[in-house]
């Protein structure tokens, strides 16, 4: 794009063509006041606050709607402009109530600031101000004060252009103009909270934060949202070590300035009464292990941890290092994950994992940043439902499709909210993702002229040849493609097949390609990078590469592949695994298997759970250690785009930080490294983890920085096994629901109004066979467990499958799955 040079207040500035005068003025530090204009939403020209004088133009112009032009001379000061600004502000303030002392926006209010800077000293209004509705709920979490609204339409423009569902509109006209929803329904979607941040007056306020504190009383901590893999930047406001509110902290490379409602109101778990505050011993489990010393009651966590790690050492010596295992957390920071894997590899075991699905570190092609979606011309979603899993990714894709000319392709087994933006939507049968992915890879390989046979078969996928052909064609003809896939939603070894597909795409010479592994968990990418895996050391160093392992990790580092999470659970059941350490993970609910997982965990000699909230798993644990969790902890996390960002401490906890606790245990085992600060752990990570060489706390800063590519191994998954006969059963697809009623969003949560009853989405033909209609209650059984759900027939998936969103912990939908993670078959009967 060509550049344009213009003069603003005597300062010359060169900006790209198409820039608005307001933005150009910012670059030369000329302040043009605005209300309605927001750089992410675009021009509106509604509030008239940004009037400027432009040479050779007869009237004052709105700087926010005017594109720069060559040799334009703009004046933002002078009598004419000042008079206009005064006039506009006098009008704006005509009916604006003088309740700044009561208003939550007071202190960070653009109307206050602009009035102070440009406004008239007082009003000439002699009549009563108009009265309007004060403090009406726009939704259970947003309060609207219609008296304060200056009708700038920022919020409605946001709803139209960013959310793109036009849920919030201006109703009526003239004096009666008001911001409202259809028929006074609550304004609730996944991103409603952003209107609070963008409202330039106190009209839209946070109900949860209402009157809790004045903005200048808050201590603002720049940290990260901990609720999904996007790792959006947030400002966490606290007062006297109490959590007050969360605001978005714009970072174009991550969140584009927006956060979802779960990020804004879903952090009350920090002050949950279910929080584990002290180490304790539960009277559960079998007889005490022989080596069990007296556990000091009310001991500080570090003392307890020292004792427990000694027991682990004893068990490892007694029964061999294969008899202990560690289940890490995809929610913890990189530092915690790194130190934990170091601890357990020091104990001589590779039984380390953090997930119930298969995944390997690294990608055969570039790991794209989230921002790259905007300048890709094709985005291919595989088994991904960003709206529920990674909401801010959903906004990014919508932006790319509607403003950047990106085309969206979707290869999925269920309908998603993003489908209406998709150029091409290819749906395969539930459970047949392996065949579908292979077919796409094979089709592309054939286009390349390679004679590769993945022996793919479109038969079981239900995809027509045409659809597959057009999908292959769309991918092949793209200039730049970004593949977004969700490894957590892919059964069996399909994520390896996706990687094989990626390496085929990489061989197409005309395409610039990259991928984003979009697992929903907060630090899923970081956990994989940090080597919380049975067969990889940090940075994608395979355990089999004993030379490199020994070089990085010393002579005694174990080089035998360990057990994956599901294998560990199987071994625990058979009694081969004696002791298991679980860090911030709840396998009883989150892993497939349900009852079998409980049985397996009960069968352990020693189960230690290091978690922040009471869960079903902590009930089974012999020893429970307190973890502080988001808000209290500090460290770095890696988001889906491979960006390493700092999660900072916002609140002081009573118990020891997680990383310090692990350090205590490392010392107990004779490890010599000592870390005075968490940044020192990051320093060690940058030395020891390939891909993280450039990462240090200074470089990460407030905005984060991208890590280097983590090396990926060439993968060669086997042929797709033919699926077991269905026998009238249906394949289960567990879908994600953003506002699931779990430990993070408990019953007292501000978002509790989003909770949904259990439901099952069926295909018409299956519903006909089973004999159920919309709204019927059915019982779904599989793997020896049963759950109830309400039927919705909407063809969300193809024949032979059923989609059940995971809506709560009690629902127990994961219990229907097979403990080994293979696709589950369920029986559906009318209840």
């Amino acid at each position: 794009m060509s550049d344009v040079t213009l003069t603003i207040d005597g300062k010359t500035v060169t900006v790209p063509k198409g820039t608005k005068v307001v933005d150009a003025a910012k670059q030369v530090e000329v302040d043009i006041p605005v209300f309605c204009y927001h750089e992410k939403i675009g021009p509106l020209g509604c509030c008239r606050m940004c009037l400027v004088e432009v040479e050779k133009m007869p009237k004052l112009m709105t700087a926010c709607t005017m594109d720069v032009a060559p040799d334009m001379v703009v004046k933002t000061v002078g009598d004419k402009v000042e008079k206009a600004q005064k006039g506009v502000l006098e009008f704006t303030l005509l009916n604006h109530p003088l309740d700044c002392p009561v208003c939550d926006k007071g202190g960070e209010c653009p109307l206050q600031d602009n009035t102070f800077k440009y406004g008239p000293p007082d009003t000439r209004m002699e009549f009563h101000r108009a009265n309007n509705v004060k403090a009406a709920p726009l939704s259970p979490v947003i309060t609207i004060d219609r008296e304060r609204c200056i009708a700038c339409q920022r919020c409605t423009a946001y709803s139209e252009r960013i959310e793109q569902d036009r849920g919030l509109v201006m109703l009526n006209r003239g004096f009666h103009n008001e911001v409202n929803t259809f028929n006074n329904e609550p304004y609730d979607n996944r991103f409603s909270g952003n209107v609070i941040d963008i409202c330039p007056v106190g009209a839209l306020t946070n109900t949860d934060f209402r009157f809790k504190a004045r903005t200048w009383d808050l201590e603002n901590h720049d940290t990260l949202c901990a609720n999904c893999g996007c790792n959006c930047n947030i400002t966490l406001g606290t007062r006297l070590n109490e959590f007050m509110r969360i605001e978005a902290r714009p970072n174009d490379a991550v969140d584009d300035g927006w956060i979802c409602d779960k990020g804004r109101w879903g952090h009350h778990f920090m002050e949950s009464k279910n929080k584990i505050t002290a180490a304790r011993e539960n009277s559960v489990g079998k007889t005490e292990p022989t080596s069990f010393p007296n556990f000091p009651i009310n001991a500080p966590a570090e003392q307890a941890a020292e004792k427990v790690i000694e027991i682990f050492k004893n068990i490892a010596e007694e029964h061999g290092p294969e008899s202990i295992g560690f289940l890490g957390s995809p929610y913890a920071t990189n530092e915690e994950g790194y130190l934990y894997q170091k601890l357990f590899r020091l104990l001589g075991t590779n039984n380390i994992d953090h997930k119930s699905y298969q995944d390997t570190p690294g990608l055969p092609i570039r790991h794209f940043d989230v921002e790259e979606i905007e300048n890709s011309n094709i985005v291919l979603l595989i088994a991904c439902d960003p709206t529920e899993e990674l909401p801010i990714l959903d906004l990014r894709i919508k932006k790319a499709v509607s403003r950047c000319g990106t085309k969206l392709l979707s290869l999925n087994d269920q309908d998603t909210a993003l489908d209406k933006y998709a150029e091409l939507k290819v749906k395969y049968k539930v459970g047949s993702e392996a065949s579908a992915v292979d077919a796409l890879a094979e089709g592309l390989a054939r286009e390349l002229g390679e004679s590769i046979d993945f022996s793919s078969d479109l038969g079981p996928t239900g995809i027509s040849d045409e659809d597959m052909k057009s999908l292959v064609e769309a991918v092949r003809s793209s200039m730049k493609i970004c593949v977004v896939y969700n490894p957590a939603a892919l059964s069996g070894d399909t994520s390896l097949r996706v990687k094989r597909l990626l390496s085929v795409i990489a061989r197409i010479p005309t395409i610039e390609c990259g991928a984003i592994p979009a697992a929903p968990a907060t630090n899923a990418v970081g956990a994989v990078d940090m080597g919380l895996l049975p067969d990889f050391y940090p940075g994608g160093v395979p355990v089999s590469d004993s030379e490199k392992v020994k070089e990085l990790w010393g002579e005694n580092a174990p080089t035998k592949p360990g057990l994956s999470a599901s294998e560990m659970i199987a071994k625990a059941k058979s009694g081969d695994l004696k002791a298991l350490w679980i860090h911030r993970s709840n396998p009883v609910v989150d892993f497939p298997g349900g009852e079998q997982v409980v049985e397996a965990l009960k069968n352990l000699d020693l189960l230690v759970v290091h978690d922040m909230l009471e869960t079903e798993t902590t009930q089974l644990a012999k020893i429970v250690l307190p973890s502080n969790g988001p808000g209290f902890d500090e460290g770095t996390t890696t988001n889906i785009g491979g960006r390493v960002q700092a999660r900072r401490k916002a609140l002081e906890a009573n118990s020891i930080d997680d990383w310090k606790l692990i350090q205590v245990m490392l010392k107990k085992l004779g490890d010599e490294s000592s870390y005075s600060r968490v940044a020192k752990v990051l320093n060690e990570i940058s030395q020891k983890v390939p891909g993280y060489q450039e990462i240090n706390s200074r470089f990460v800063g407030k905005q984060g920085c991208n890590r280097e590519q983590v090396a990926g191994e060439e993968v060669s998954p086997g042929n797709v096994e033919s699926a077991a006969s269905s026998n009238g059963k249906l394949q289960l697809r567990v879908a994600t629901y953003l506002f699931a009623h779990d430990k993070i969003l408990d019953a007292s949560s501000k978002l509790a109004y989003h909770f949904k009853p259990s439901s099952a989405f069926l295909n018409e033909s299956d519903a006909g066979k089973i004999g159920v209609s919309n709204g019927d209650r059915v019982s779904i059984s599989g793997n020896g467990t049963e759950m109830e759900a309400e039927v919705t027939i909407d063809n969300r998936c193809m024949e032979g499958g059923v989609v059940v969103p995971r809506i709560s912990d009690e629902q127990g939908v994961n219990g229907l799955g097979n403990p080994d993670g293979s696709p589950a078959w369920v029986d559906i009967k009318k209840a």
Partner: protein
Amino acid sequence: MQEYKFTEEQEKEISRILAKYPVKTSALLPLLTLVQRADRVVSPEAMVAISKKLDVSPAYVQSVMSFYTMYHTEKVGKYMILFCINISCQLNGCDKLLEHTARKLNIKVGETTSDEKFTLHREECLAACTEAPMMRVNDTYYGNLTEQRIDQILESLD
């Protein structure tokens, strides 16, 4: 909320209207007019039905609908009497005539008669100053009004 059903004829009319516009959303005003003419009111149910036809949010339909004064959220009478009260009519005594009409229909301005036959509204200029004072009943203009003429007109409407 109950589902709103268009009649078969309306459906035909809708597809005819939709065919006229390259962008579906453009058909919003004609569809609202269609519903207003048929029901003498635009109910929330109808707005949802229209939003589904045009693939926009119901809120957007309501926003457009509430901007225009000729769509009504409360059911109006069979005859919509719009009385011009702008300057030319006012100089020619429209206030008195309006009062007369209201008294004759036994309603206040802005209300509907109990038999749902007449609704009386004020309207800013109806662009017929040459015939002031004037009023509009549905689509017909009546100019040079006097009390007798109004009585005649009202009686002629049934």
